[in-house]
Symmetry: C2
Subunit: 305 residues, 2 copies
Amino acid sequence: MSGEFDLIARHFCPLAAPEALSLLDDAALLPVSGTLALTADAMVAGVHFLPNDPADLVARKLLRVNLSDLAAMSAEPVGYLVTMAVPYGTEEAWFAAFAGGLAADQAEFGVRLLGGDTTATPGPLTLSLTALGRVTTPLRRQGAQPGDGLFVTGTIGDAALGLLALQGKLADPTGTLVERYRLPRPRLGLRLGEIAHAGLDVSDGLVQDVGHLCACSGVAAVIEAALVPLSAAARAAGAKLETILTGGDDYELAIALPPGAEALLPGGVAFTRIGQFEAGPPAVRVVDAQNQPVPLERAGWQHFR
Amino acid sequence: MSGEFDLIARHFCPLAAPEALSLLDDAALLPVSGTLALTADAMVAGVHFLPNDPADLVARKLLRVNLSDLAAMSAEPVGYLVTMAVPYGTEEAWFAAFAGGLAADQAEFGVRLLGGDTTATPGPLTLSLTALGRVTTPLRRQGAQPGDGLFVTGTIGDAALGLLALQGKLADPTGTLVERYRLPRPRLGLRLGEIAHAGLDVSDGLVQDVGHLCACSGVAAVIEAALVPLSAAARAAGAKLETILTGGDDYELAIALPPGAEALLPGGVAFTRIGQFEAGPPAVRVVDAQNQPVPLERAGWQHFR
C-alpha cells in the first residue's frame, strides 16, 4: 500500500483541472464570473450503495447524483471536490478503479477535479462530493403555479427496482434496472430554467419529491398514476405501483410547466405529463385512471426516520 | 428522533446564508466575481478527533481546519458546505450542539452555511466540509527562493501535545494544549500573499510541511530547532523535540519571506524566524544550536502508511 501522497499523485492528479494546482496547494484557485450553483452529497457503503459494488460505478454514482442536483437547478457543471474516508487495508487497485470511474464521467460530462481529501477510516467507505456549476436562469423548487403541468423526464421507478434486483427480490434479466440504480443519468443541458416554473430531481421518491415542489411553491399536485412512464424492464418486472411511486434514486427531473410551454421542451429526452398543479395547501394526491385515490404507505425516503 | 428534513430545518437552516435558499433547493446559488479558493477536508471520529469529543468542538474544528487552508492561500472565507454521516441512534441534542458550534464560528469568522447533506451511517461519525474563499493575491506552496527566511506564526507543537494529554500521556494542568488540539485558530486576515514568496498551514507536522514547501518550490530548507517557538504550556510539559517538530494539527502558517520583508509582516500575530531556504534539491535539514543535525524518526503524518 502506497502512502497518501503517492496515491493522490498517481490516481487523482491526472483528474485534476489546471485550477486544482496539481492538488499540491491548500486550495484550488478558480476564477469565476457569474452565478455558481453549489451542492454536496454524501454516500455511505451499505446505505447508499452496496459494499461490494464496483469502485468505478460507486465513483460515477457519487459524481452523478451531484451533477443531477446541478441539472435540477438548470446549471451546467464546472468541477468538483471529493473527500473519501476509505477503510483501512483498502488495496491500491480499488483507488485505481475509483479514479477510473471518475475519469470516465469527467470525459462524459465535461467536469474536472478541483480538490479533496483522502483519509482512512475504521468504518465503511464514506464519500462526499461537492459539485460546482454555472447557471444563467436557475430552476428553483418554488414557482410552480396552479394550472402548471407536472412533467417528468425518462422513466420512473427503475432504480428502486434495480435495488430490489440486486437484493435478489426481483428478476432483471436485461440488467437494465440494476444499471439505473448504479449509474444515474443526470439530465444536464436541458436549459429548463428558461421554460419551466419550478423543478427538482427525483432522488427521494416521486411522491415525496413532488411534495417538495408543492411545499416550496405553496400549491397542491395531482399525480395520475397511470400516466407515470415505466420502462419496458419495469413493466416486465411486474413491480408494485407503490415501489414505482415512492422508490428513490431515479434522478429524473420533475418540473412544473406552464400551459403552452410543452412545445418549448428540448428534444433528445422524453418528457411525460403525469399530472398537474392545483390551488390548495401543499399536498400530493395520487389517483388512478378512474380518478380514485391510490393509497400509499409512505411517500419516499428519509434518513433518521 | 426527528426526521431528516425536520433536523435540517431546526438546526441547520438558521445557519444558512441567503444564497443557500433556505437549504430547500437542490443547490445554493452564489454570485461570484473574482477568484475563488476552494478546499475540502474530511474528519472521522477516532481518526481526526476522539469519539467522545464535544460535538460543538468537533464542528468548530471541522470548519477551522478548512478555514486554515483558506488562510494558507491568503484567502478570506465566504461560506461552506458540510456533509455528515452520523451514527444511527444519534440524539437530536448532538445535532443541536454541533450546529451550535458552527454558529459560534460563523459569527467569529464571518462565514455562512451554503449547503450540505445529512445521512445516517452504521460506522463512526464522518464529516466533510468544503470551504470557499475569496482571494486577491494568493499565497502558493511554490515560490520559495534560496535566501528567503522561514517563518512560522504562533507556537508549534501544542496540538500534538494536547492529543498526548487527552490520551493521558502528558500533564496539561492549564488545558491550553488540549484546547490547541481541539480548537485550531485559522490565521485569517494576514494578507500574506502580498509579501511572502510561499506558504502553507502546518497540519501534518512542521518538518513534513516545510518539506512540501521545498518540494513545490524546488529548494532546500534548514530549520534551527532552537528557534522553533514553544508555548509556556509546551515548555512546562517538557515535550520531546521530535513531538514538537513532527506532530500535526497546529494549523499555524509557515511562510517563505524574502529578505527585507520582515518589516511588512502584519501585527497582532507573532511571527518567528526558524530557519531559511537554500539552493539545493528539495529536503529539510533540522539542526541544533551547534548546527549539528537533529535525527528524526519520521517527518510527520500520513494516512495509509
